[in-house]
Symmetry: C2
Subunit: 425 residues, 2 copies
């Protein structure tokens, strides 16, 4: 910082703020540094983007679009909505997510500009600079991006691939201290595709309860689970841990661009009380929430989207998860982890078998060069030596991608015990 000195600045020096410098998006930082030059003879297959709309095979439902047009035609949704959203729209969200163990009223819902904004509000209301939050590793990067830019520390608790990405509870608990102001749980998970059992969620809740730490439950992928899987909300499993659940239209309704999200306030024994609610309301007044037309469409979207639409997405996810898991389990050196939901599958790379590559970034970069298949290296999620596959691509593309990944691995695989250098000679 410049020396304090009253008076005229003599030349132009405009520097970006520390907050902007400290706003780091690891996916961008890593991907922008990669040399992504697809093989000229093979059309590119990007399995890297968490946007289910990019391939055109998963359009949103006509009922969703119709609800938007109805909102436009009503002429009722052009003015300012209250900063927390229209009462009727908040009621629609409350109705949709309310359940006996975790009832919701309209006033428990705050509409936001995407789930990202919901996460921003929750971290902003619960944490001060110098506090810390616990976030999963591997995990969605936005928690850290937002927290660090606000001077909030991030502590990573481990997820265990051998236990289908369950939380290492001991590790998580060991990280808590008296400046821990929030425990972030992502379920179903990006990037893991894991869905926790009721029992596992209860164990997490017991840790939070023992240490009196409120939970940010990122449930943007709620209900996006494979058949046979249950996916109770965290709030429905606890009567004493106060929870702020973040969600939105992005994934389940396949309209991430519409920027409609929400915070669901599940208070318990008045721990949040009026103060946290009021804090959220005040924060919502900074830039207001999501587009009023989308707010106006919410009730129609919830009421009119046919079950078959949701089922169709799940069915594609299931097919692709199977193609991918079975296709890659037989690939030497790879270790895919079964997925139960969200729209991702994680694949471990046994780096010892791939001496050609230094790490997951190197590995996935070369897979683009040689096979025109791009998977996100999990360094982007604070976790090395895996890559993440997006499961929303068309089935044929999934099949083709798996066979190319296999070809790539077979070309570079070295059996253990042999030194790569020896073989080269």
């Amino acid at each position: 910082p410049a020396k304090a000195m009253k008076g005229r600045r003599l030349r132009w020096t405009v520097k970006p703020s520390e907050m902007s410098i400290n706003t780091v998006n690891p996916i961008r930082s890593i991907v922008d540094e990669m040399k992504l030059t697809p093989h000229p003879d093979k059309p590119m297959i990007a399995l890297s983007i968490g946007d289910p709309t990019v391939f055109g095979n998963l359009p949103t439902d006509d009922a969703v679009l119709q609800a938007m047009k109805d909102a436009i035609d009503s002429h009722k949704y052009n003015g300012y909505a209250p900063s927390v959203g229209y009462a009727t729209s908040r009621q629609a969200v409350a109705n949709f997510y309310s359940c006996p163990k975790a009832p919701l009223e309209a006033e428990d819902v705050i509409l936001t500009s995407g789930c990202s904004h919901a996460i921003d509000l929750v971290i902003s209301v619960l944490c001060n600079a110098g506090d810390n939050i616990l976030v999963p590793r591997p995990g969605f990067s936005l928690y850290k991006t937002l927290a660090v830019s606000m001077g909030i520390k991030v502590k990573f608790y481990d997820l265990l691939p051998e236990k289908e990405w369950e939380v290492d509870l001991k590790h998580m608990e060991s990280l808590i201290d008296d400046r821990t102001s929030c425990l972030v749980v992502t379920n179903p998970s990006n990037p893991c595709g894991s869905v926790y059992s009721k029992e596992h969620l209860q164990k997490i809740l017991r840790v939070a309860s023992r240490h009196c730490v409120p939970i940010l439950a990122d449930e943007i992928y709620s209900d996006m689970v494979l058949p046979g899987c249950e996916c109770p909300s965290m709030a429905s499993l606890s009567s004493d841990v106060p929870i702020l659940s973040c969600g939105g239209l992005a994934k389940r309704w396949l309209v991430p661009g519409w920027r409609m999200g929400w915070v669901l306030i599940h208070d318990r024994n008045d721990v949040f009380g009026p103060a946290i609610r009021q804090g959220l309301v005040k924060l919502s007044q900074r830039i207001l929430g999501g587009c009023s037309i989308v707010q106006g469409a919410l009730e129609g979207i919830f009421n009119n989207t046919p079950q078959s639409f949701y089922d169709n997405t799940i069915s594609l996810l299931k097919t692709n998860a199977e193609i991918c898991y079975s296709g890659l389990s037989i690939v030497p050196g790879l270790r895919p982890v079964r997925t139960s939901g969200a729209m991702y599958l994680m694949v471990g790379i046994n780096m010892d078998h791939f001496p050609d590559f230094q790490n997951d970034v190197d590995f996935t970069e070369r897979m683009v060069t040689e096979q025109s298949v791009f998977c996100l290296p999990t360094s982007a999620f604070e976790y090395p030596n895996f890559f993440r596959i997006v499961l929303t691509v068309p089935e044929e593309m999934m099949v083709e991608a798996c066979s190319r990944i296999r070809e790539f691995c077979e070309g570079h695989y070295q059996p253990l015990g042999l030194d790569g250098n020896d073989l080269d000679q």
Copy 2:
């Protein structure tokens, strides 16, 4: 803050963050404290809300609605847009606002979730905690709300009602020090309804230039000026002061709920350079920008909105400004200030003549009780003893409101030199 102590927290204490506590919306704080009980025999007339859509007399244009429906039907705008907005949408904004003296390319445009978000990005990229920004008084309250919540200081420069709210340039200049990271200029102005001449804007720019302070030009009301008034953008008048101009669809297209705003980057001599641009891009990745459907509609909105639509709004503003100014100039104790644009008119209260009331809040509160007319007291804009009138109401309502305001004032007016208490006895 709790004493640092490793280990278990023994009971629940969840407190809202300092940032949320420091996020203060003065309009809400003041209005929520007022006892607003309209007179039972008179229908309420709210001249307080800066939302031009509330009376239904100023619908947006059909072309604007059609552009939205076209964007929906195209199925092209449901996925994630880039965090700064679609290239085509940025280009559309650039084309619309580019002018020879201040040319814009697509890359100079960042789309945001309303103009509020644009202001948030600009303050966030230019200022660190401990810096100060210069903002107008009376002025729109959001600048202070955002700045204070981020630990940025606010210094108010005076606007002069007797000069149709021109800036007191000496006062402004005297406030600048070496921690001044941004000068905010609102033109046309909320709450003043003033539109600065080219010459006055050039004087402001010279102050910024002498002290090397970049400008946040809040131009959300640009082009909303009465016939005969010119309203050049600040950027078009300077070749050396770097300017970030904030705008959006809210006011001119009468769709504030849609939350579509933008930052226009007018760099000069590479003062912002890649660093500020990159800072804005990084900040845009926090929650992403506005709704993709509205983004997709921008080009249609700009190209297809007929001139008659814009003219119609201006014509209503002109009529109401005349009704209001002439109606209230003859009211004893009031001093309306001529308006040239935006959608507001300020009325000074000569409090000496109204001993029944302590201040503008008291005055406007009683005007609701007795006449069911609500005008915003300008304490909400850090400025006492005026009230702000919104000019977008239907004409008949404006006439009726003025006559009620007159009746109210006549009932409470006391000629100078007499002591109100004496008269009561």
